[in-house]
Symmetry: C3
Subunit: 260 residues, 3 copies
């Protein structure tokens, strides 16, 4: 199978030459692929954050997309590199849990064999994005047989999301991601919420002594703080025309609870 | 008409997965289009800033470019989505004034009809960039008939620029934009300036008790502060090899005046 | 010769419309080229930083790549614009030293003639990236004869790197670049180091009273601070899972020495 798009997700930031150099190495191998930058501003070494954004991104890309994910605190160690084939999409990442949230039923998982003929023998210790990941992504996008560069496996490292605690009259979740606008995104999804809160219930959503009494449909009708189900289908706390994270001094892991 | 380029302008920043996901959704609809990122660092919800940068950008793109602009504090409300066709360029934006400064004589303006067959029925409240704007931009770039997805209108929301006050012996303007270098860009354009200041006049440009006595041709010949007409044809205050906004503690709306 | 890729390197940042507009102007001239953004976050006016990143980037791009480099404190003055042809790659930059570290034996150097027929006559003083560099890059990428727009030269401005001081029992270098992770990259390269330190020697790497006793192969095995040879083949000081620059309060020019 060939892949027409390569989507890059890293914690390399936009300050250095790292991303540009990866693109150069990809085009050296496959001049015809289209490269899309998902984001490179993952907090350094934050594998969970990358896994979370990847989960909420991959369904929105065309078939025949390759996702190249390099958040790699273990670069230079003997950690494995994983290739996960799921339907018409394929994912490459270091074996550190980054692919944990790809919820596709049928998956084939491979471990990359290093060295192989697509990788130059002169590999740096600190930039496998350039020396391994990019040429391999380029080669896979051209349709090479995965058996020639990898072996099947079923053991990969997985990470877990913080679980929502469901009690008799309340559920307790937490902030798992904060977006560019300062909106606080929790681990409480629509199903959990509406299994707990029936249509006739009155409820309160609580964060740091602030109580929110309804779910909004947009960001502008509320004073104080508001809550809505966002595009990830997760409960999100916002401050209209303002930065809720800053206003509430609330960060990742801040408790958000729902009471009947 | 088909559009070969889609230019993205948003306040989504580069931290989240929002831009990458929009690109994915565009390519799902039209795999052949080229996507250009104008900027995504518009100050959150700052419609004026987006309109200002769009005004000073669109003339520099090829014909058959579609401009997709999503600075959208009203997302999830019943605000309209506008399609503005002007010559061989086309603009899409929420109806909030973002397209106010497109100075092209002949314009056709349309309101998007939602739902239509190019939009998935499952629309989130918080991310129309993904669920509406991107698939519509993809469809329009492929050349679909606008009549099938929109109705003609002539009522759209417009915003205004701060006006320059012209008195007998002075003109008073203000800072309307600050660029990456900290240069202070005012609303005083070349025409206004040279209608007021004749070639034989001596004049002073004043900002916060600093007086500048001539217009420079570059950023390096001045000590203290300098002024030049920038690439937008607007009067710009700079500090050579330094950040004028920081040095002067001057922000948006800071008064800049010209005396004879 | 035609060029399939144009790589952009500037200090324009990602806040304004500058980069998008340059891409528009390039596509106006050559709709078929692929544009790659190396980085636009060079510290404003820092020619050394741009030259350093370019040195460590250009080998990783395909043949037939054009590198367009605009860190240009002299914009609007009569500084020259240089075109450097080296093998199957070509480089454009203001004549300020930005191309000093392109270590390719056979180079042909040209000065751009302005005006020429590829540049619109209406040139701004402040944005040659839009008005000169982009249309010229587009034209060169299409394969125009360089003789029609430039004259050969051998006088260009060069800048130098800080030198490593080599004494009897120590070498003294300094930090020359700090990356997105806060890693401190020095001017001590692998050759200098291993000419000084033989395999049987014990040695200490010293930065601000911290002593590091070995070269690591990765970022995770060390407590305190570590050192490795990075992907530029330069000695790099790091803090495992942390930002060494911040932790050590060490910036550019901080002394790093090696003792036997």
């Amino acid at each position: 199978m060939k892949y027409n798009y390569i989507v890059l997700l890293t914690d390399f930031g936009y300050q250095d030459n790292f991303i540009g150099v990866m693109e150069g190495m990809i085009y050296k191998t496959n001049p015809h692929v289209k490269i899309i930058n998902l984001t490179h501003n993952i907090t350094p070494q934050n594998v969970f954050q990358a896994a979370f954004l990847l989960e909420h991104s991959f369904p929105y890309f065309p078939d025949n997309t390759l996702f190249l994910n390099v958040v790699d605190p273990g670069v230079g160690t003997d950690r494995d590199i994983i290739i996960l084939k799921a339907g018409k999409k394929i994912f490459i990442a270091p074996d550190n849990g980054l692919l944990s949230f790809i919820q596709i039923a049928k998956k084939d998982i491979y471990k990359l064999i290093i060295p192989n003929k697509y990788i130059d023998s002169n590999i740096s210790n600190s930039f496998h994005g350039r020396d391994i990941f990019s040429p391999i992504a380029g080669a896979i996008s051209k349709g090479i047989d995965l058996k020639k560069i990898s072996i099947k496996t079923d053991k990969i490292i997985t990470i877990k999301k913080p679980e929502v605690s469901i009690k008799k009259n309340k559920i307790i979740g937490e902030v798992v991601y904060i977006d560019n606008f300062g909106n606080l995104i929790t681990n409480i999804n629509k199903n959990i919420f509406f299994n707990f809160v029936s249509l006739k219930d009155t409820y309160k959503i609580k964060i740091k002594n602030n109580k929110i009494k309804k779910i909004s449909n947009n960001y502008i009708q509320e004073k104080g703080y508001g809550a809505l189900f966002n595009s990830f289908n997760l409960l999100e706390i916002f401050s209209p025309n303002d930065n809720a994270s800053y206003m509430l001094k609330a960060g990742i892991h801040e408790e958000v609870s729902v009471y009947i």
